[in-house]
Amino acid sequence: MATQTKTVKPAYEMTYWERLGKEVVRDKYLYLLLLPGFLILIVFRYIPILGNVIAFMDFNPYDMAKSTWVGFDHFVDLLTRPQFLNVFKNTLVISILKMVCGFPVPIILALMMNEMRNLKFKKVSQTILYLPHFISWVVLSGLIMNMLNPDTGVLTGIVSAMVGERVQVLSDPRYFVQMLVISDVYKGMGWGTVVYFAALSGVDPQLYEAASIDGARKWKQLIHITLPAITPTIVIMLILSCNNIVNAGFDQIFMLYSALVYDVADIIDTYVYRIGIGRSDYSFSTAAGMFKSIIAFVMILIVNTVAKKTGNEGIW
């Protein structure tokens, strides 16, 4: 055994390629583990990303050879079509309204729940409030359609009384967006409290003790202890929520909208679906989709940079 002289070069004598080869062989099983996942990513993520080139073509799905390059024509077309500009506006309006209305609610709920001393009651309320987050938009829109049924809906009467005329919320452009915002808040507000509870549970109880010994009432404790403690979480959540500026909530709107409310409720994703899948205008709809992806991409880069600059953990 000892006489068998195997010429293994020490690492420092190896060339870059020799060392690379050796390490790849050493970690072969790690690469093997990566393989299936990466195959999925390549086929269902990267090929479609490359497939976005059809936005620069007049793509003929039946005969690739008949597809011609048209450069930025579809993008020019897109940005000069009043219809698309309206769709873009709707997307921003709906997502910003959802953000503005939906953002403060979980904070307020978390602070209120935090004052509950009956833990059992707190647990039960949390379970109930989280529930809609786990229910699909299909079921929730079934509930909404039921509540807002023009003839028998429980809410139809209430809303009609409030605005002083008989309204059909789901087909009335004047009320449709409000309905979207309210139902979105309904779905998300409970679950949104979870991150704030995480922040609240990190507050040192001694702070409250010391404050109450010093005579600080609940209100003062809230202002001087609780709020400062969750401010970092509020800031990062606010930054992250900007990510969704072009995501107005496709699953929800696609379930609930109809031609009657296209004017206010048609967003980029629903538009892409109708033009692309409905009319098979693949190139133009891909251009519309790509327009959205690029805005989302830029937003996420900005958001991540801002998050890191402000001393927070970024998204990656």
Binding site: D27, L33, I54, V139
Partner: protein
């Protein structure tokens, strides 16, 4: 924190008022959250005339179970359950496993090209390929009208991979080292040491995956034309948005003598498709909350 604050000072009157108000508010809010579900449930138990006339608020009018007889006569409800269960199981098991398999090597700093591969995974999260190119790829693969089209595209989640990667990083290197000395290779280490150690994290991610697959309807809108292959959500969607057609397909003549109509059948189908979630949800809810904690604020 709750216990620590047993007030040494007497609670003032405004504080007492606030406490009462606080509890009352949450009682009201919870009831309001649940009411839409309750109303649909009561509607599903009500008679045809009552459901048409309205005025059902807190309890059913003309109590009967005809609605559920009709719902369970609908073959699509059965096939829908079957497809949804299959897709959810496949998607959850494969998706969680593949994502863990991607995350583990990427947690090893010694892996050549690991950084580049990580960026490739991340990029799928920050740049969306878009609906149409994705559709064309699935179509090109001949997966239209195939249940795999509901499972495969979303299997690997970059977001979950990041969460798992940071969890794997927290597992002490020494555990692996000792296994390696005993002759275990990386596959062995992953399946017999890392995976069992990460049970809690993996279970949480699996739960989120399961909810995602169960609730997904849009993949079916895009990829499945064959109504026998529709998942439950899609069956319900069709019923809600194309009532007349759906009722005919379901074999329900809306003006028949049965004590049901489109509204009660929709209500019944909503209940039937929500019950599984409602049964499981209270028991797994705490794991979801844990999941958000794992992901930091990223939940």
């Amino acid at each position: 924190m709750a216990e620590a604050n047993k007030n040494k000072i007497k609670t003032s009157i405004p504080e007492k008022i606030f406490t009462v108000f606080n509890y009352a508010f949450f009682v009201a809010l919870c009831l309001a959250m649940l009411y839409p579900f309750w109303h649909v449930l009561m509607l599903s138990f009500s008679s045809l005339e009552a459901s048409l006339k309205g005025g059902i608020f807190l309890y059913p009018k003309g109590f009967n179970l005809d609605t559920y007889q009709s719902v369970f006569k609908n073959p699509q409800v059965y096939s829908g359950f079957g497809v949804s269960i299959l897709v959810t199981i496949l998607g959850t098991v494969l998706g969680t496993l593949l994502t863990a398999m991607v995350a583990f090597p990427l947690s090893k700093s010694r892996l050549r090209g690991g950084k580049v591969l990580m960026v490739l995974v991340l990029f799928t999260m920050i740049f969306s390929a878009g609906m149409i190119p994705s559709f064309l790829v699935v179509q090109g693969l001949g997966l239209l009208n195939n249940i795999l089209a509901l499972v495969l595209p979303g299997l690997v989640s970059a977001y979950n991979a990041i969460i798992m990667k940071s969890f794997f990083l927290s597992i002490p290197e020494s555990l692996e080292e000792s296994a390696r000395i005993d002759g275990a290779n990386d596959l062995r280490i992953f399946f017999s040491i890392i995976l069992p150690l990460s049970k809690a994290t993996i279970a949480t991610i699996a739960l989120f995956n399961a909810v995602g697959y169960w609730n997904d309807y849009f993949s079916a809108v895009l990829y499945i034309r064959d109504t026998n292959l529709w998942p439950l959500q899609m069956v319900l969607r069709f019923m809600l948005t194309n009532t007349q057609q759906a009722m005919q397909q379901a074999g329900v003549n809306v003006i028949a003598q049965t004590n049901t109509n489109a509204e009660t059948i929709k209500a019944g189908t909503i209940i039937v498709s929500t019950i599984p979630i409602l049964c499981v949800y209270p028991f797994v809810q705490k794991y979801f909350v844990k999941g958000v904690m794992i992901g930091g604020v990223k939940g």
